[in-house]
């Protein structure tokens, strides 16, 4: 009557807790496997993987100029990753960094375009504040609705990205259209007075970004606010039980998260683009999500990961000129790395067990 069942050959078994060392080993192994898998992909395209990887590295470092360009890639990525990491720590899925960057840039650009006669540092300071305020407000909107009506912040922040993007288009085609552009829709270039100064050949955004790494690190780890963010992220009911004002914490954290992204927008516009372009965010806000997760929301990890991503990005652009490969190659490689790093989480929590025959 009982048909004899079969012993499963391989079973998946949960691991209670791996040591930190093992975890690190697995992650490094995942990174190497990702490079290997990327190598296969390159082979498939008919190139030598080692040569190509070499080109990526040298492309990012080969000259002072190249390195400066890498850093320029890195600044907005690093900053917006720090911004979204704050929200993620609270388990608030802010995927609206893109929009927050744009609105920050728009607000800052107002002063850059129409008050460019103000004293240089006062103007930059005002632009900085405007960027933070704009991004912060853009972050506050979904936070308000989340805390009041429990709306889905993922969709909400995502949709706000498109609204922000269309605000730029509207300004570019309408009120802020450059009269000197002879019909071509674009916004005027900022006056030198409204541009960020260069330090060591790169606009000083990199200093702000580095300072932010430390500030965010301390804020999350050592302050009351940071503590509250962790508790709210872990369990809202625990937070309430401890007497925390969860609503206030969500609003405040999202204002800061959006604010950091807004500053990113200001720096990108005034430091890199020298104008308000619709590509001011250019997908950085989405890449930031990947960066902050790969770094496990640790600010110093974000610093490292965003640097590696920038090397990949810059190196890939060199590859385009050297081999005629599309820059999308970088995106493919990013995807592969992400797949492996996130996939390795499985091996951190589970292991495979091969059944012993007979099992006695």
């Amino acid at each position: 009557m009982n048909k004899k069942g079969h012993v499963p050959f391989i079973r998946i078994v949960k691991i209670s807790e791996r040591s930190g060392k093992d975890t690190l080993k697995i992650r490094i192994a995942a990174f190497i496997s990702a490079l290997a898998a990327g190598g296969l992909f390159i082979l498939f395209l008919g190139y030598n993987p080692i040569e190509l990887y070499g080109t990526i590295i040298s492309g990012a470092f080969r000259s002072k100029m190249a390195f400066q360009a890498t850093i320029r890639f890195m600044i907005p990525l690093l900053m917006s990753s720090l911004g979204v990491a704050m929200a993620f720590k609270m388990r608030f899925w802010n995927i609206g960094a893109e929009g927050q960057i744009i609105v920050g840039a728009v607000c800052a650009s107002y002063f850059a375009l129409f008050h460019d006669t103000w004293p240089h540092f006062l103007l930059l300071l005002v632009m900085f504040a405007a960027g933070a305020l704009g991004g912060g407000l853009w972050g506050l909107i979904p936070a308000y609705f989340k805390s009041k009506y429990d709306t889905n912040e993922t969709l909400f922040t995502l949709m706000l990205n498109y609204i922000a993007l269309h605000i730029i288009t509207y300004l570019r085609d309408g009120p802020w259209k450059d009269p000197g552009s002879s019909g071509f829709p674009k916004i005027a270039r900022f006056a030198p007075n409204a541009q960020l100064d260069k330090i060591l050949g790169v606009h000083f955004g990199w200093i702000i970004a580095l300072i932010l790494v430390f500030i965010v690190f301390i804020y999350l780890r050592y302050t009351k606010h940071g503590y509250e963010i962790s508790v709210v992220g872990e369990s809202k009911s625990t937070a309430k039980y401890a007497g925390m004002d969860v609503r206030k914490i969500i609003l405040r954290t999202m204002a800061i998260s959006g604010g950091i992204c807004g500053i990113t927008g200001m720096i990108q516009a005034a430091g890199s683009d020298m104008t308000l372009a619709s590509s001011v965010a250019g997908g950085v806000g989405f890449t930031a999500i990947i960066v902050s997760w790969l770094a496990y929301l640790n600010p110093f990890g974000i610093l490292l990961v965003s640097f590696l991503f920038s090397v990949l990005e810059k190196g890939s652009s060199v590859m385009q000129s050297a081999y005629g490969l599309s820059t999308y190659f970088a995106s493919v490689l990013q995807g592969i790395i992400l797949f492996f790093i996130l996939g390795c989480e499985f091996f951190i929590r589970y292991k495979f067990v091969v059944s012993r025959k007979g099992g006695r």
Partner: protein
């Protein structure tokens, strides 16, 4: 009857199951015959549930073999277990709330289509056979806990289960409902079913089983015939050393009313009744026990006092000041401490991923001056608690979710007590704890009582409530059925009130 009576219904040989470094079951040998009730006794974490999950196909053993009717079987999924005639009734019901009893019973069975009327007939007949009371058309959301359990039992019987496994089936029942369940189980046994009942309540083991298998730390440490054993022997086998089963009830002198609840009514978010016209007084230096079937308003009571839930009407007077409408923060500052332990222990009182130091901060971090948190005092407090309550942990920097249940409970209660509260609300503080840890917790509560703290103790084990509390308040459907002196009452009296019988003059607590 089965063809081969000489064979065991189930025979487990050398079952071993590990989770990471934790050995849940080690070389377990166990057997049960048809027409027998076997009690599986053991403290939480002794591996009872894991063992039964192996039988029901949820887990697969690392080593060892399972024989059913004398043949070796490989149960790789729950469906196979059902095909082999094994039915498990879980502690937490797995029913579709919006379906009727009948729909739940047939849900997931394949192969044959039966007309509704015929099906109803079949179910009613089966109910009669086993002495179950079922209304096939009643929706699950309209059912009491005991009715839901009946549906669960019907579900496995309908699937042709000959071997029934019940995981802590009485934890949600009143004493009277328990007696009814036991009658049903005896009837099933007489009809030749094999029944395994998982429990940690000693008197139930003695009441229902034919044999007892005692598990400790994943091993079977003994199998005894129920008729030849006593509660004390079972407890010793279970714990592994002589234990005293007495709970102290120290007498205190100065009893002043600290908390007075007046006509308190609470409505849940989904519009259902939480509490209705609740009146009681909580005095300093007393433990007021709260009894009731799970979900009778215990959670609402705790959360309303702590300011987490809104009251619809009524007042909660703390030293004559109404605390309704105050935020949790303000209430904490008044000295009302709540060590509320919901279903999963880490849900509300502690943050699982944080270490002891950070968890100590939870209620005190606001007292820190300035923006940066000084963790030194809470580190000191954590170290003191580890010392004082002999908390077993790799270190105060280990995330608390990695501690065992008893130690988590000590961390939570220790922190609450350390804040020198005037009122201590504690819900199910010994849930999931072994006997020894439970007694440490009782001692902690008694110590607080001697310090004139007013303690509201939400409990589930009536024996404990009767021994530990000074007075017992019984809740049913959010209403107070009565408040009795713990010394002059009986389990039966409380059981009747838990089931909804109101005591004379229950509304006046003088």
């Amino acid at each position: 009857m089965r063809a081969n009576d000489t064979n065991y219904a189930i025979e487990l040989k050398g079952i071993t199951k590990t989770f990471g470094r934790v050995v849940a079951n080690e070389n377990v040998n166990l057997s049960i015959k048809y027409g027998e009730i076997l009690a599986l006794l053991g403290e939480n974490g002794s591996g009872k549930t894991t063992l039964m999950n192996i039988l029901s196909g949820i887990y697969y053993a690392d080593e060892g073999s399972v024989y059913i009717d004398g043949k070796e079987v490989f149960i790789t999924n729950p469906h196979e277990a059902i095909n082999l005639g094994i039915g498990m009734i879980h502690q937490h019901f797995k029913l579709v709330e919006v379906f009727s009893a009948m729909d739940n019973i047939v849900l997931g069975t394949r192969g044959r289509y039966v007309k509704n009327s015929a099906l109803k007939e079949e179910i009613l007949e089966m109910s009669k056979k086993f002495g179950l009371e079922t209304e096939p058309d009643k929706k699950v959301y309209n059912m009491s806990v005991s009715e839901k359990q009946t549906v669960e039992i019907m579900k496995v019987l309908y699937r042709g289960a000959k071997i029934l496994i019940l995981d802590e089936p009485t934890s949600v029942l009143t004493p009277q409902e328990t007696a009814k369940l036991f009658a049903i189980l005896r009837r099933m046994k007489d009809r030749g079913n094999a029944i395994i009942i998982i429990t940690h309540k000693l008197h139930e083991v003695l009441a229902i089983s034919d044999r007892v298998a005692i598990l400790r730390k994943g091993r079977v440490v003994g199998t005894v015939k129920t008729g030849e054993t006593k509660e004390k022997e079972l407890a010793e086998l279970m714990v592994g050393r002589p234990v005293s089963l007495e709970i102290n009830r120290p007498e205190t002198t100065s009893k002043k009313t600290v908390l007075k609840v007046v006509d308190l009514s609470v409505v849940n978010e989904d519009g259902t009744r939480g509490l209705k016209n609740v009146n009681f007084k909580l005095k300093s230096g007393e433990i007021l026990g709260v009894a009731g079937v799970a979900g009778s308003g215990q959670r609402e009571l705790c959360e309303t006092i702590a300011g987490l839930m809104e009251a619809k009407t009524g007042a909660i007077l703390y030293n004559k000041e109404n605390i309704i409408g105050k935020t949790p923060d303000e209430i904490i500052n008044l000295g009302i401490s709540m060590s509320f332990v919901p279903e999963d222990r880490l849900g509300m009182g502690l943050v699982g991923s944080m270490d002891m130091v950070d968890n100590m901060l939870l209620k005190s971090y606001k007292k820190n001056k300035g923006f940066i948190i000084d963790k030194k005092p809470s580190r000191k407090l954590a170290e003191e608690l580890v010392e004082k309550l002999s908390i077993i942990t790799p270190g105060i920097e280990t995330p608390v979710r990695m501690l065992s249940g008893g130690n988590v409970q000590k961390v939570l209660l220790g922190r609450e007590i350390e804040s020198e509260p005037n009122v201590l609300i504690t819900a199910y503080p010994v849930r999931g704890l072994d006997i020894n840890s439970s007694y440490i917790i009782y001692d902690l509560l008694n110590e607080q009582k001697k310090k004139n703290v007013a303690i509201l103790f939400i409990g589930e084990d009536l024996d404990v409530l009767l021994e530990l509390s000074d007075r017992i308040m019984v809740l049913c459907h959010g209403e107070v059925m009565g408040i009795v002196d713990a010394k002059n009452t009986s389990k039966e009296e409380i059981g009747l009130m838990m089931a909804g019988k109101k005591m004379e003059g229950a509304d006046s607590d003088e």
